[in-house]
Amino acid sequence: MDGSPGVPHKRVRRNRGTRLWRSLGDYAFLAPAAAFAVLFLIYPLAYNINVSLRDFEIASLLGKPAPFVGLANFARVLDDSVFWKALSNTAIFTVASIAFQFVIGLLIALYFQKKFFLNAFFRAFLILPWLIPIISSANVFRWLLNVNGPLNFILIGLGLGSEPIGWLTDPHFALWAVTIANIWIGIPFNFVLLYTGLQGIPREQYEAARIDGANGWQSTVFITLPWLRPVIATVLLLGTIYTSKVFDVIWVMTKGGPANSSQVLATYTYQWSFELYHFGPGSAAATLMFLLIGTISVIYIRLARPGRAL
């Protein structure tokens, strides 16, 4: 206990009582969070898994017993074509969102490395899309992407189409509509992390490179990107995790429709439990979703940081 990191040697008469008190005191700091984690994270997850193995309907809330049905709920979900549609939509939605968010965020972050007048002023605004309540952003895009709204006006005006697109009403476009909104919302997250990462690169690196005759491009590729690798890895990992969970944007804009064309795992799961009140399959779908995200994260972390014990 004494001498280990964080606990200095205490110049006090040491006996067993003090030692016990000291270690108990340490745990007191962690106790509330640990209790919270058990009550509101672990227990719900376990409960979720339990319900997924049972025939649990709304009546079960009032005490009707919920018989154990093994993996029947899982089978029901995996048999549902909408589940697979939601899965593929989630993949498309996530990959497309992250690709655009990351590239745009990186470009803006690179641009703002330059010291110019009002730089800090603008950066304050640039974080707004991410922090504004998502329902507000989603509503704005409902309008911007309205069949009679501004985006169609611009597209037609630029000659990029002759007919207004029913972004939210046409099954071919609904997923892209919510993706567009999600990209806008997620750019600041990428921007802020990448910007700060870029700020952390020592200027001497660029000096040395310039002396060696490197031009702008070469500096970027051979200095900036390698230095940014850890930040990029983190941004992509967190971005993937957060994006695959997205619910609000899609629910407010399309509710997963029309005809399940913008259904994702989060909305799919929600509908099972809170619209159909079939908690069994709902929990099964939710469990599958969690396992999926967890697996991808583990794979990703293993790939990005080889040799790091998990």
Partner: protein
């Protein structure tokens, strides 16, 4: 002499050009927010005008007044939920972060794993069991229930951000406090907390802003109209019948307004906070 002046002029020109570019980038990113705000000043017909108005032609406060009236009852609910979540989050996460960063506590590893894993938990995974759990304890349709639900995200998030900050508190400062006879709690309160204040400020900000924008937990757990937070009120009341776009935009703007004001004022803490939590580990 002339060479100096030429260089200065070129510097100013370059600076101005970069600033213009920065203005363009920011302006494009702000378009949706801008549109949201000006639409509140228009009528439904004006919004659908072709070509779209870039500025309210006949600004009217009618829509804003109507929306304020319909959202006002929910404002207090949102404030209570957000303040409550923020408080609970700080009370739980700050000591926990200290324990993780500095104290020799056993079980740290599993605890951190749980925290990290919780970031991967979709809200629906938690919403369903919480809904069922709260039903048993009559916590559905209660502000406390929402506070607890929102905290399932903010507490892990704040813990991650704060433990990164607290790693950097110099050991000597804490030891000095112990040598002066301070108890563990005293050392924590008078040394660690003040030094970590920027991190705590960030945790507080997110602890408030995240519940302010929460939608899914409110959607799942609140059916009593009196207890609706702003997000739910916006979702239900305004879009009930044919969509009144100016009202929807004005309502969205109002719900976003406190965030906008706050972010512009407290920008520094937010940027550093996100980075500390995400990059360090």
């Amino acid at each position: 002499m002339r060479a100096h002046r030429d260089r200065d002029v070129r510097k100013v020109v370059r600076n101005t050009l970069w600033t213009l570019g920065g203005t363009a980038i920011t302006a494009v990113m702000m378009v949706p927010i801008y549109w949201m705000v000006i639409s509140g000043f228009m009528t439904q017909k004006e919004m659908f005008h072709v070509p779209p108005y870039l500025w309210p032609v006949r600004p009217t406060l009618d829509v804003w007044k109507a929306v304020v009236a319909s959202l006002a009852p929910s404002f207090l609910n949102s404030v209570i939920i957000s303040l409550g979540t923020m408080t609970l989050t700080l009370l739980v996460a700050v000591p926990a972060a200290y324990a993780v960063a500095k104290l020799p506590v056993r079980g740290k590893g599993p605890f951190i794993m749980t925290i990290l894993a919780s970031q991967m938990l979709p809200a629906v995974v938690i919403a369903m069991p919480l809904f069922l759990l709260f039903s048993r304890f009559h916590l559905t349709n209660s502000l406390l229930g929402l506070i607890l639900a929102d905290s399932t995200f903010t507490i892990p998030f704040a813990t991650l951000v704060l433990q990164a900050y607290m790693h950097n508190v110099p050991l000597e400062l804490i030891e000095a406090a112990y040598i002066d006879g301070a108890s563990k709690l005293r050392a924590f309160l008078s040394v660690v907390v003040p030094v970590s204040l920027p991190g705590i400020a960030t945790a507080a900000i997110f602890g408030f802003l995240i519940p302010w924008g929460d939608f899914i937990y409110a959607l799942t757990m609140v059916t009593n109209n009196n207890l609706q937070p702003l997000t739910l009120a916006l979702y239900q009341n305004i879009s009930q019948y044919r969509i009144l776009w100016p009202n929807l935009m004005a309502g969205s703007a109002l719900v976003a307004l406190p965030v906008i004001i706050f972010v512009l004022a407290a920008n520094r803490f937010i940027s550093t906070g996100i980075t500390a939590g995400a990059v360090k580990e």
